[in-house]
Each structure stands twice: as C-alpha cells, then as structure tokens.
C-alpha cells in the first residue's frame, strides 16, 4: 500500500527537481494531446519548442516576451516571499501601460532625452498606485488581497478599454479602438537592430537580480521573509508589518507598471486593447516555477515566453488553436504543485497491516 509520509527535513533536491519533473510530465501530456488530435507528437513538440527559436528573430522575440514576464515575476516574488497573495500583476501592468500612454501622448510633439524617462516613470507610478490600493485595502480594512487584486485587474482592464474607445482613441484610426502612434522620443531604444527586441529585457534582468539581492543581502528582504514565514515572530521582533506589506505591494506594482510601460513604448508604440496576452497571470507561474530565486525566475521566464511563441507557431503550422499556450501553462503549474508535494512528503510502500489475531 502506498502512503505519504512527512519528511523530517524538506528535500532540497526535490525543490529543484520538481520544476524539471513538471516540465517532463507536461511534455508527455502534450504528446498525448497531439496524438489525441491526430497529429504527429514529435512534429508538434518541434514546432512548439524548437522552430520558434530557429533564427535570430526568434531569439529576439523570446527576449521581447521575457521582459514583461521577468518584471512582473520579480515584483510578485517580493509579495509571495512575504506570503502576500498578490494576483494583481495583470492589473498593475495594464495601468502602467495606460498611464505611460497618456503621458506619451500628452508629450506628443516634444523631443528630448527626458521624454522617455517621464513616460516610464508614469507607468511605474501608475502600477505602484494600483498595487498600493490593494495593499491599503489589506492593511487598513483587512480585505483579502486575492479578491481585491483580481477585482482591480478587471477594473483596470475596463479602464484601459474605456481609454482606447474614448479619450485616447486615434481620431484618424479608421474607427479602431487604439491610440495614435507615439513620437520617436517616447520609444524604447532597440537592443538588437532590425529586430523588435528593446532594452526592456535589461530592465527585466536587472529586476530579477535586484530581487535576488534584496532577499540575500538586505535587512528589508530579511524582514519580508520573516513576515512570510511567521507573522507572529515578525511582530515579536518589532518589524513594521503594515509598512512592509505596503512596500511589497508598491514594488510589485512599480515593476509590473514598468513592464506595461515598456510594452507600449517598445514593440507596440501605441496603446491597444490587447496590450497583454496575460503576462501578469503567467508571471505567477514564472515565480512558482523559478523557485522565487533570481536564476530560476530567468529560466522560467524564458520557458514561459517560449510557450507564447509555441502556441502561435502551432496555430500557423498545424492549424491548432492558439489557446494551447494557456493549456500548456496550466498543465505546467498543475504538475509543479503536484511534484512540490514531494518536497515535504515522500512515498512509502507499506504492507497493509495484518488483522490482529483474535479480533473479529
């Protein structure tokens, strides 16, 4: 008989093996899905994981999609380490994109090196304010942050839709709900010429490193960790729980807001309704898969960025629905949590206890 038994010490090996195991299980399930759809599984996996990266442009696109995932995931890591269940990166991202666009359009005719920083700061502030709202609802009114951040995501999306259908709508845009194109002074410089990759990727990598340093080297990081592991110990040590909570939300919001700002000033160059294919939600998977560590997050962001490209590739090459991206991401997270159970537990094979003689 199989039974679960709590390990005396959490398994460090399993901590890092779990994401790999989850990926393997996802791939096996993926092959099953391809076969069920009557497609060649090897061909399907090749189109999903390899074909998108077959040239320079593919790698540039990977970096392009990693940038927002890294920024959002770095911010969420701060919250999750402190056990603050911020699901609002999508909303922070959208508000960042919206207000960066407002500023970029306001400064339309201006040129000068100060335009772009202002636009990016506007995005960061907008994201931070949006996150701070959820933080204050938690610290002042004890509202569950999962519910408030989800609601704020929907509100942010509707605000953005209102903006592109109303005040920010390009009057010469043939009726499409989108803003005018930004002036060149409000666009992020390219990282690799002739591709779409911009310096937003550097922001993302920097954010991942900064969060790594925050938790490895600073007192604030230590306080946040303690707050997450044992709230009462944090209170006993006199750590300012409310201020730490608000700080975690502000940082998460600022980083996700920067991601939104980078998206509109980078590859898009204007505000459109579909500014995010769900980066803020996918970033949650990045954080868990990346074990809340800088290196892990970078690797996980690369893998999940690839799932967006793989989905598009399968749509073009094999006429499969693009939604396969979401399916792969969901499977990955599901398997990851299942495998994570074995960090704390191990399977024991036990013989069923024999009936005691004399009983019954």
């Amino acid at each position: 008989m199989l039974s679960l038994e709590r390990r005396a010490v959490d398994s460090r090996a399993m901590q890092w093996a779990s994401p790999l195991l989850a990926l393997v299980l996802t791939i096996i399930t993926g092959m099953g899905i391809f076969m069920a759809l009557g497609k060649d599984p090897v061909e399907g996996l090749t189109f999903f994981f390899l074909t998108p990266l077959s040239d320079k442009h593919g790698w540039a696109e990977l970096g392009l999609k990693m940038a927002p995932l890294l920024l959002c995931a770095a911010g969420l890591t701060i919250c999750y380490r402190a056990k603050l269940w911020n699901i609002g990166a999508e909303g922070h991202f959208l508000m960042g994109a919206l207000w960066a666009s407002v500023v970029a359009l306001q400064l339309g005719g201006q040129s000068g090196p100060w335009v772009l920083p202002l636009v990016l700061i506007a995005g960061m502030v907008a994201g931070a304010v949006w996150a701070l709202l959820a933080g204050l609802l938690k610290t002042q009114f004890h509202c569950n942050e999962i519910l408030t951040t989800i609601m704020l995501n929907y509100i942010a999306l509707n605000l953005l839709l209102y903006a592109v259908h109303g005040p920010l709508k390009d009057p010469y845009g043939f009726g499409f709900p989108q803003s005018e194109m930004f002036a060149a002074s409000a666009l992020l410089p390219k990282l690799i010429p002739e591709t779409r990759l911009h310096i937003g990727l550097l922001f993302g990598l920097l954010a991942a490193v900064a969060v790594g340093v925050l938790f490895a080297r600073t007192f604030i990081g230590f306080q946040l960790k303690v707050l997450g592991q044992d709230e009462r110990a944090a209170a006993f040590a006199g750590f300012p729980a409310k201020r730490l909570t608000l700080l975690a939300f502000i940082l998460a919001g600022g980083l996700a807001g920067l991601a939104g700002a980078s998206e509109v000033t980078g590859p898009l160059g204007q505000l459109v309704p579909q500014v995010s294919p769900g980066y803020g939600y996918t970033a949650i998977i990045v954080v868990f898969l990346g074990r809340m560590q800088a290196v892990g997050i970078v690797l996980a962001a690369a893998l999940l960025a690839l799932t967006f490209m793989g989905g598009e590739m399968l749509q073009i090459a094999m006429a499969l629905p693009k939604a396969i991206t979401g399916l792969f991401q969901g499977l990955l997270l599901f398997y990851l949590l299942t495998c994570d159970a074995f960090i704390h537990y191990r399977i024991r094979i036990r013989r069923a206890p024999k009936a005691v003689a004399g009983e019954a």
């Binding site: 679960l4 004890h142 939604a323 979401g326 399916l327 969901g330």
Partner: protein, 308 residues
C-alpha cells in the same frame, strides 16, 4: 420608473444572480468543510464549455447540464488530489485550477466560438406567474432558475437540520476533534469539494446554455471570483448567499438599467460596476477583523493529514 420596467429589471436581476447563487452555494459547502477552493472560475469555465459542446452535439440541453456538472466534478477532483491528498497549499492549488481551466476551456472550445444554440426557454408556472410583479420575476423563469432555488433550499436544510450538515461543519471547525470522534475528515472534504465542482459546472452551463446561449473564451468574466467574495459577504450562511447573489446580480445589470433610463455613459466604465461593488462590499465587511473571524470556519485553508 413604471411597473413594467421594475418587473423587467427584477427579473433580469434574478437571471443575473442565478449563476452567482449556484457557484457560491457550492463554494459555501466546500468552505464549511474547511477547504478554500480558489478554482471556481476555472471550474465554471469548464462547465460552460463542456455543457455547450455536449448540448450542441447531442441536441439535448439536459445532457449539456449533466456533462457540465460532471466536468466541474472532474476539475474539482484535480484540486482535491492536490489540496487534500497531497496537502498542497490551497491557495496555490486553487489558482492552478483556475489557470488550468482558463487554458483548457479556451483550447477545447476553440472550434465552437461563434456557434449559437437554442437555450433554455422560460416556463411560466400557472397561476403563480399571474401575480403582479413577483409572478413575472420569480415564476416566469427558465428551469435552471427554479433548480437553483431548489438547490438553495436543499443546502439550507442540509446545513441546518441534517446529521450530514453537522458532520460537515464539525470537520470544518476542527478536523482533529472530528477525527477523534471517528469521523472521516478527508472523505467528507472530498465530497464537499466535489459538490462545489458540480455547482460551479452547473453555473457555467447556466451561462452558456441559458444566460447567453453560446460559448466565448473567458465568458465567466470573473463571476467565480465574485462568488468567493459573496461567500465572505454571506458570512458562510446560505440564506445570505441567496440575498447577496441577487444584490451582485443587480450590480451586474445596473449598466443596462442606466442605459435604459437614458444615461449616456460609456459601456466600459459601467462594466466596472460589479467589480467596484465587490471591493466596496469587502471593505464594509472586513474592516472589523474580529467579526470576520467569528464567522469563518476555523480550519479553512489548512490542509489536514490524519496522524496514524
């Protein structure tokens, strides 16, 4: 406002509140057993897509409803495997279920977007439906609305008067004490989670087979999350879930009413209303943490592993 308008608004409120009522009742039972399942949105979406596919391919709406409930239960079992058997963090497992459900439902339903179906018709109950206002609001609705009221009555009586309800609450308040008294904690929790899945699936089917008889990606639009807030609002009491579901239902059709009254505001701004209302309600309810703690099932969110 004339009485015709009032009647129409109230009837639309009941319709809009029905999916919320169903999913919130399921979650209420689940939470009363001590399990917080944040996967409602994912289970609802699966219910909506499976119900729609089953109904279009068999031509039978009741087959659609059955399949949707079964789909919801299967999804719930995935959650139970993680959160109950493997004692994973319930927040993370529920989130995973929602993300998985969003992906899987979009994938499965991709070929069905844009199709429509003849959904449930309204059935007027003789005599009762002739009562002014109330007759049209409560007794001229579709079969699933009547079903949701029946389920409400059953859940209410189950929790309040039955031995099973007592066991469920005991498990939710103190699994250790329940276990010591010979109650099987994990099977009870499995059943509660399964019921939650069936209700979420049914709520999803209500959306895709009655409310707007078609399938679109993410058509639940956060209703699964609103239902979670609704359970908090109801302080885990079914009669307040009923009231709350219709209040939230009213908030979600308010934009139609305002537009009907000649308000010329943007659709997008008015579409924010249910979410804003949810936050306001959460604030009003949660500002006194002592009161919330008083009503919350004690063991909620904590995995339980019987020590042998």
């Amino acid at each position: 406002m004339d009485s015709v308008l009032i009647t129409n608004v109230l009837a639309a409120t009941v319709v809009a509140g029905t999916p919320l009522l169903l999913v919130a009742l399921g979650e209420l039972v689940c939470e009363r057993s001590g399990v917080l399942n944040l996967g409602q949105e994912g289970m609802m979406l699966m219910g909506a897509v499976i119900g729609f596919i089953a109904a279009t391919s068999t031509g039978s709406l009741s087959m659609g409803v059955l399949a949707a409930m079964l789909g919801g239960v299967l999804m719930a079992m995935l959650f139970a495997l993680m959160a109950i058997t493997l004692a994973a963090n319930q927040y993370a497992a529920g989130l995973a279920l929602t993300i998985f459900g969003i992906g899987l439902s979009s994938f499965v339903g991709a070929g069905f977007v844009g199709q429509s179906i003849d959904g449930f018709d309204k059935i007027a109950i003789p005599l009762l439906s002739d009562i002014p206002v109330i007759g049209q609001v409560l007794f001229n609705q579709d079969l699933l609305v009547y079903g949701s009221l029946l389920i409400f009555a059953l859940v209410f009586c189950f929790l309040k008067y039955s031995r099973g309800g007592l066991i469920l609450r005991a498990v939710g308040e103190s699994p250790e004490a329940a276990n010591a008294n010979g109650l099987k904690v994990l099977p009870v929790r499995y059943m509660a989670v399964a019921f939650g899945g069936a209700m979420a699936g049914l709520a999803g089917a209500y959306l895709s087979l009655a409310y707007t008889p078609m399938w679109t990606e993410n058509m639940t639009a956060g209703r699964g999350w609103i239902a979670l807030a609704l359970v908090v609002f109801a302080t885990w009491k079914p009669e307040r879930v009923l009231l709350g579901a219709y209040l939230f239902g009213a908030a979600s059709i308010l934009h139609l009413v305002l537009q009907g009254l000649g308000w010329n505001s943007s659709t997008e701004l008015l579409a924010m209303l249910p979410y804003v209302v949810t936050i306001i309600v959460l604030v009003l309810l949660s500002w006194n943490p002592a009161r919330t703690r008083l009503n919350t099932p004690l063991s909620i969110g904590q995995p339980y592993r019987p020590s042998k």
